[in-house]
């Protein structure tokens, strides 16, 4: 292996230092700089396995997946006994949707480093994606055996158990979610205990809307159950949820800042209520616990009557989720992927999409008329009122699905092959929301045929 020849006026960095710098740039998300450095290092030493490996990670982070895989595979072939390489490749293959290769890499990583808990965890993730849930739990358990305080492994275990319908075991492992890095700040800094389900005096329980909007809407149905044991609980959640959660009976006060909670004796995250309430797949409290204000429903009815062509079925649509969601890549589609819907001239598409992705509506030229209603939606109450004025919602797995379900609006929910745990396995319905029909991918990461089935059933 040759070192780059020193040239006059050109700064030469020792290899170890350059590798360290490259890894640091990648970790600090300085991806353009990392890309530049990786290219220069590769030009100088195209056969160096660790440069190739790191350069592959940089390519992956920059969205150039085939290049990433080519670099990393070459790296692995040059240094086949380095356990780090297959361990990272396992994740890259997953990102590329190549699950079989990911499993192979995951198993190879474990073979090379049988004491590396991270290698087991990576494999458990892949097995979840392949819906090999028992195996996923077993491999996660191996990771936990090596590193008992490994929150990600516990959480992965929880998700696999819950998805498999093993709710009781799942809820226990689910408690590890607050030890995940991304959960920091979700709970108040307090010396008060987490609520254990025993009665408390009025106003002394703090319920925290801890997860995404969808989770809060879904678990909000358990607030009345908590209020039976601890009357008038304080609910702390994002202000955006206030207008809808306040509809739920039994709440004492609603706050959006920790300093406004006042004194309390114990706290409980909303997502912790199902565990305490012993919720399984057969005892979910019914939907219908939210409702759109009638005057708002009427206001939107009049408006939609003006804006939508007459005589067409109104189909509300959401195609993209919050990009920062950990599984957004799996659940989010491009508007254009709903083309089978757009080919129908008996429907009018009413998009209730919010966020940056609404811009995709600007390039829509399908046969069905499309009303880009997102820009006029102020809050969740507007969304509810609009949904009450459409024939059906077609949506990805996002908060709007929960709203439709909670108010009983018919909805078609498209799901990845390995969905979020709450949608369980195989079934077309969900115990959480009777008005929602589930349309699952037949193949991991492929939406082929899914939207066609939705369109055919409209």
């Amino acid at each position: 292996m040759s070192q780059a020849q020193a040239q006059p006026g050109k700064q030469v960095m020792p290899l170890a230092e350059a590798l360290e710098k490259l890894a640091k740039l990648e970790q600090e998300n300085k991806l353009a700089e990392a890309d530049d450095l990786a290219s220069r290092m590769l030009a100088a030493m195209p056969e160096h396995p660790h440069i190739l490996h790191l350069a592959g990670i940089v390519s992956y982070r920059n969205g150039r997946v085939p290049e990433a895989i080519a670099r990393m595979e070459k790296s692995e072939s040059l240094a086949p006994d380095m356990p780090l390489y297959p361990r990272n490749m396992c994740e890259v293959y997953r990102g590329a949707g190549r699950l079989e290769d990911a499993v192979r890499a995951g198993r190879r990583a474990i073979e090379l480093a049988p004491k590396d808990a991270r290698a087991y965890f990576n494999l458990a993730l892949i097995l979840y994606e392949k819906l090999e849930l028992e195996e996923s739990v077993r491999v996660a358990d191996q990771a936990i055996a090596l590193e008992p305080d490994y929150p990600e492994a516990h959480f992965e275990r929880a998700e696999a158990l819950l998805l498999a319908g093993r709710m009781k075991e799942g809820w226990e492992s689910y408690e590890w979610r607050f030890k995940l890095k991304q959960a920091e700040g979700m709970l108040p800094k307090t010396d008060k205990p987490q609520w254990d389900g025993t009665p408390l005096p009025p106003g002394k329980l703090l319920i925290i809307g801890d997860q995404g909007f969808g989770d809060c809407i879904q678990f909000g149905r358990l607030i009345p159950w908590a209020a039976l044991l601890c009357p008038q609980p304080i609910v702390a959640a994002s202000g955006e949820l206030q207008p809808i959660l306040k509809q739920i009976p039994g709440i004492g006060k609603f706050v959006t800042r920790w300093e406004d909670t006042g004194e309390y004796d114990a706290y409980i995250p909303l997502s912790g209520l199902p565990r305490l309430a012993g919720i399984g797949t057969d005892n979910v409290p019914p939907a219908g616990y939210l409702a759109a204000p009638p005057e708002l429903v009427e206001e939107w009815r009049v408006k939609l009557d003006r804006l939508c062509p007459k005589g067409k079925k109104r189909i509300a649509l959401v195609w993209a989720g919050r990009p920062t969601h950990k599984n957004d890549k799996k659940r989010t589609l491009k508007l254009q992927q709903f083309a089978p819907l757009f080919a129908r001239d008996d429907i009018c598409i009413v998009t209730v999409q919010k966020g940056e992705q609404i811009s995709q509506a600007g390039g829509y030229y399908g046969r069905a008329p499309l009303l880009n209603l997102g820009p006029e939606i102020g809050d969740f109450l507007d969304t509810m009122a609009i949904l009450k004025n459409v024939d059906r919602l077609v949506t990805i797995d996002t908060s709007v699905a929960h709203i439709a379900g909670a108010i009983g609006v018919p909805a078609s929910l498209v799901l990845p092959k390995a969905p979020d745990w709450r949608w369980l396995l195989e079934r077309e319905d969900t115990p959480w929301y009777p008005s929602i029909k589930l349309y699952r991918q037949h193949e991991a990461y492929s939406w082929d045929g899914v939207i066609e089935r939705v369109a055919a059933a409209l």
Partner: protein
């Protein structure tokens, strides 16, 4: 002791004066204007030399005088006239501007500004001429010429009704009919669609000024617009018999040939292309297209565009357009617009017809105009003027940032006031007559102003006429029309401008809730009844679509938009005409393929999508 240096640097404007005596004067060093009269005799001498066509001597003397006193009015006027005659436009502009800015008697100021404004008008620089003409008018409001020049400038910048008012004031101040003013007023009325009035005025104007060739051309165009094609042709043939070398009249005659689909007559009339100017060669391109001589058509328009670039320096300047697009896109976001106040219900429903030039929005307007309840508002729509006026009304920053002022105090009601201004302008055009419920607005620049439209008419229907982008390229390359940023300079420029146009509409559609319906030109010519029915259903208009409706309906609207002049029986041969060109010249679109291919796909004209 400070050394005094003589600054001999010439002025970059090309006036021939030293910079410190022209565009970079030393502050406070100029002689008082009154004191420059001491040099009047020299200035008058320079004028005499100029009038005697002793231009070199006149120029030398004027320069000497101006080196002593750069603000000597008479000498400045002489040098301005000389540079003007030499077509040294930068110098003439600098001198004209300085001349107009000199202090002094109102009459002198007015005369200087009128002269400068006329120079700018002759150059087609109407926008720049507007403040100059306004300065003249303010100096001598009772001067008929100042009123007349203001009328010209406003007419050419789209202020038709305001232009008409100034022409009428000019006539009143003159106290008699004037052939030139009447002819210009007639042209203004023609642009407003008031064809009968325009024809009558032209007749009077041409009796007074029988030598007004432009007036004769205007009359011919009015007659053509009214459907009196034989009369229009007779007027032009008569004029050409009198002035056989007048190329403008000949070009009008050629355009009549094209409208009547007599392409061979066009080629015969114009003769060999080597001797032709760009607009004439473009007419040849259309003639070849009509004859099915596709390579000849392409050679012609490519040659004409090359000539415009090489001889006239025509070049696409997208930078200001791109900057504007970026500013508008940054401002008009869903979150930003959601909080802005909207106007309430208006007196009538405007129906905005969007579409790139030659996409067919004119055809749609012609079809709609035949239905009861519709009035054709044409391209002269005030939305762009309102956007321009908004910073003044809201006392804010430039548009669109000035819209932030709508959030404050009294300005909350500004959308209502702006809508009232819009409506008043439409009413003054005679569009809002009894029985009219829908007034079409196909303002060419409306694609920039969909954000403002949203605030003034939140639920107005917006019908976007789509057409295959390659067909648009061909049609626009062959037609002599000026575009923003000189996008007509060539095929690549036109494609980029089209992408900009499409990008603005895509942005507004993505960020705003619009009542938007796309219709396709190709569907419109294949099945006009079905498309019209769809449009009527979309905008909520009742009533039947007459069977067999076409664009050449007998009933013509009043006012009559000028594009109705070219209306012909509905034809289908222009749909997908690019296919024949592509087959004959497979590389024709190579240079624009990368720009247009994604748009073609997005619009649904991609592989396998075309019928």
């Amino acid at each position: 002791m400070t050394e005094l240096k003589f600054n001999a640097n010439s002025c970059p404007c090309g006036s021939g004066l030293r910079a410190v005596r022209c565009c970079e004067p030393e502050p406070g060093a100029l002689a008082l204007q009154d004191n420059t009269v001491l040099l009047d005799s020299q200035g008058t001498e320079a004028t005499r030399l100029f009038n005697e066509k002793k231009y070199a001597e006149a120029e030398a003397l004027a320069q000497q005088v101006l080196d002593v006193a750069p603000n000597q009015r008479i000498a400045l006027r002489v040098l301005f006239e000389i540079r003007k005659a030499q077509s040294r436009h930068e110098a003439a502009t600098a001198l004209g501007r300085r001349l107009g800015a000199l202090a002094g008697p109102a009459q002198a100021r007015a005369q200087a500004n009128i002269s400068f404004a006329q120079y700018l008008v002759a150059q087609g620089r109407h926008g720049e001429a507007r403040p100059v003409a306004a300065a003249a008018l303010k100096a001598t409001p009772k001067d008929a010429t100042a009123q007349h020049v203001m009328g010209v400038v406003l007419t050419e910048t789209g202020g038709l009704q305001e232009g008409e008012a100034h022409y009428r004031r000019a006539l009143k101040l003159l106290g008699r009919d004037d052939g030139l003013v009447l002819a210009n007023l007639a042209w203004n009325l023609k642009l407003q669609g008031r064809m009968d009035e325009a024809a009558a005025l032209y007749e009077t104007a041409l009796r007074l000024r029988t030598d007004n060739k432009r007036g004769v051309g205007g009359l011919a165009q009015v007659e053509f617009g009214r459907g009196n094609r034989a009369r229009a042709v007779a007027v032009l043939d008569g004029a050409l018999a009198q002035w056989p070398d007048d190329r403008t009249l000949r070009l009008l005659r050629v355009l009549a040939d094209l409208a009547m689909r007599q392409p061979q007559a066009v080629l015969d009339r114009l003769g060999p292309q080597e001797a032709l100017m760009a607009p004439e060669i473009l007419a040849c391109a259309q003639a070849h297209d009509q004859l099915g001589q596709l390579p000849e058509a392409v050679n012609a328009w490519m040659g004409a565009r090359r000539m415009q670039r090489e001889r006239s320096g025509l070049v696409y300047r997208p930078e200001p357009l791109l900057a504007r697009a970026a500013a508008y896109k940054a401002y008009f976001t869903a979150d930003q617009v959601q909080v802005l106040p909207r106007a309430g219900h208006g007196a009538f429903t405007p129906v905005f017809l969007l579409g790139f030039a030659r996409a067919g929005s004119g055809l749609l307007e012609q079809l709609l105009a035949q239905l009861p309840g519709f009035a054709a508002g044409d391209e002269f729509a005030p939305m762009a003027e309102l956007a321009e006026a908004l910073p003044g009304l809201a006392a804010g920053a430039d548009y669109p940032a000035a819209l932030d002022e709508l959030l404050v105090g009294d300005n909350l009601r500004l959308p209502d006031r702006l809508r009232a201004v819009y409506e008043e302008k439409r009413i003054r055009l005679g569009l809002a007559r009894p029985g009219v419920r829908f007034i079409t607005d196909r303002g060419l620049t409306n694609f920039w102003h969909i954000g403002l439209i949203k605030l003034l008419y939140p639920e107005a229907p917006i019908i976007h006429v789509l057409r295959h982008p390659y067909d648009l390229m061909l049609a626009n390359m062959m037609h002599d029309r000026k575009f923003e940023g000189n996008a007509q300079a060539g095929l690549a420029a036109m494609a980029q401008y089209y992408a900009l146009h499409a990008g603005m509409i895509r942005h507004f559609r993505g960020q705003l809730t619009l009542r938007y319906l796309p219709v396709r030109y190709e569907d419109m010519v294949a099945a006009p009844e079905r498309v019209l029915r769809e449009v009527l259903d979309f905008i909520g208009a009742e009533g039947a679509v007459p069977p067999g409706i076409g664009a050449n309906g007998e009933a013509v609207p009043d006012p009559l938009p000028q594009h109705f002049a070219g209306r012909v029986p509905l034809y289908r041969h222009a749909a997908y005409r690019h296919r024949a060109y592509d087959a004959a010249m497979p590389h024709l679109f190579d240079e624009v393929r990368d720009v247009l291919a994604p748009l073609i796909e997005e619009l649904g004209y991609g592989q396998g999508a075309e019928p």
